[in-house]
Symmetry: C2
Subunit: 305 residues, 2 copies
């Protein structure tokens, strides 16, 4: 990224914080949100509500922590160990408490005093859904609509790359055909939705940040098989635009791990589509300015009908 792009990003972040659109926490990528920011997100969610209902999705929700077994069984910890947040807690007694307190008061790392719990932070909204689908799907498969706070350990000064952020997802489980046609339709719907908010967009194939040397092949495979598409907005840079939505075809991956079968008994295929809600909001503030009451009339009418 060119120097002037980084500097424009830094300036923009400063203004977001000055106006309390976002609230600094002292940790990069972890921000409080003022009423204006949350209102934009709520209005974008309302537009996604309409699309999700049109597709016939069933609403469910999950907390921001999920069983550790899910990241283990799905290979998430294998493929993205650098992003996964594991949750650890003190299970000691009075005898160990004073030593822990000394460490805490020094401001030091208290790892050695805590034990791993049964949960990790959700890396995406859909992960906890798949284990609940074990068994046979009804004729035509199933569709779900869900949203949760996700965590990825990638501290960054880029306000569009938060560590803790909300992904609004829809998920489809069924036959390969049903799942792929559904994803294709959502790519159109998602593009239309965000274009109607005045965001300049590009749809492109993409890959996930698989870890290490071994990850290169996985990334190449994702691109080659068009398993992942992203909607990109040039928030800071035309050359390195930011993904604000993704459309992911998992093939048999989750169906195999969690033994999800179609109505005809085959291993179910799954796909998910997701909107990075904070990224969409930041793209809107960057594109249209810091005062939503001054955004273009057609965007305002869409968001606040």
């Amino acid at each position: 990224m060119a120097v002037d792009e980084v500097s424009s990003r830094t300036d923009f972040m400063r203004v977001l914080l000055d106006r309390r659109i976002l609230i600094a926490s002292g940790v990069p990528g972890v921000y409080g949100r003022g009423a204006a920011f949350d209102d934009v997100i709520a209005r974008v969610q309302a537009l996604i509500d309409v699309l999700s209902r049109r597709h016939g999705a069933e609403r469910v929700s999950f907390p921001p922590v999920i069983p550790r077994a899910v990241v283990r069984r799905t290979g998430y910890m294998e493929n993205f160990p650098q992003l996964c947040g594991s949750v650890h807690a003190f299970v000691g007694n009075d005898d160990k408490h004073p030593a822990l307190m000394d460490r805490v008061r020094e401001g030091g790392d208290w790892s050695e005093f805590v034990s791993q719990t049964d949960v990790v932070l959700a890396p995406a909204a859909c992960y906890p859904l798949y284990p609940s689908l074990t068994g046979q799907l009804p004729e035509g498969g199933r569709l779900f609509d869900l949203c949760s706070f996700c965590f990825r350990h990638e501290p960054s000064e880029d306000p569009a790359r938060m560590q803790s952020f909300q992904i609004r997802e829809n998920v489809r489980a069924g036959s390969p055909d049903d799942v792929q046609r559904w994803r294709a339709r959502w790519m159109e719907d998602g593009k239309e939705l965000l274009a109607s908010l005045g965001l300049p967009l590009k749809l492109d194939t993409a890959s996930d940040p698989f870890f290490g040397r071994g990850g290169r092949l996985m990334k190449a495979n994702q691109h080659a098989q068009e398993l992942k598409f992203e909607l990109l907005v040039p928030i800071w840079s035309e050359a390195q635009p930011t993904a604000v939505a993704s459309f992911n075809y998992h093939q048999e991956h989750f169906g195999h791990v969690f033994e999800i079968r179609t109505a005809t008994g085959e291993c179910a295929h799954t796909a998910c589509i997701g909107f990075g809600l904070e990224r969409v909001a930041i793209a809107l503030f960057k594109q249209h300015g810091l005062e939503p009451e001054r955004w273009p009339a057609e965007v305002r009418t869409r968001l606040w009908p």
Copy 2:
């Protein structure tokens, strides 16, 4: 708790899961939520919205992870080390990845491969707010309205004692008088709100689960000074009712730690009030039955006006 109370709780949980009002994750206290459960929570939130606006609270929100420095500086880690969830992540390279993977595949504890990050799970919605208030408050102080997913590491089979759950809070910072009068008014408002939903209630002084032998004095002090009140509903048992809302006066605690001053330059006092949203929803399902469309007319009119 008597045997028949535990058995009634277990039976009720089974029904909640059978009807997919809640969705089991395999970890006690971590549940997905069906549309009916989330709808009840959304409607209770709408009623709290009205009260929060009447009190003049400003809306803000924070993610479910907060800076580790906040639990260190506020003494949370000192007083409740058993409840706090610390977040740890793998920061190694390709060399360490295979050993981590072996551990993960065995299903073992992967603590030794991860390092402590700068964040912990939020133990209450209000914790990340206080550091953002450093400095001088305006005349009359400030009021905030916020909600977030909180985490407390206390695995339990009681559906009303989740590990990951939402607290809707209001927070007041200002002079001791302002803060105490505000809390007293919210105790009335909160009681009236929940009573209007047909819940049998009792308001009582309470204490937080301070850790270990040293915690006893803290608990006794909280009771004696009436720093904490709770609204209790006999969900499973008259003898051990469940707290569904709490009203907490922190005196100078947060003002001192984060250097928050009143308009006249004194150390600000703070108080917070919080509704345990999942507990309120479970109390309603237990009190009125599993089908909200059959709840008493006056409760339905209040929730779905």
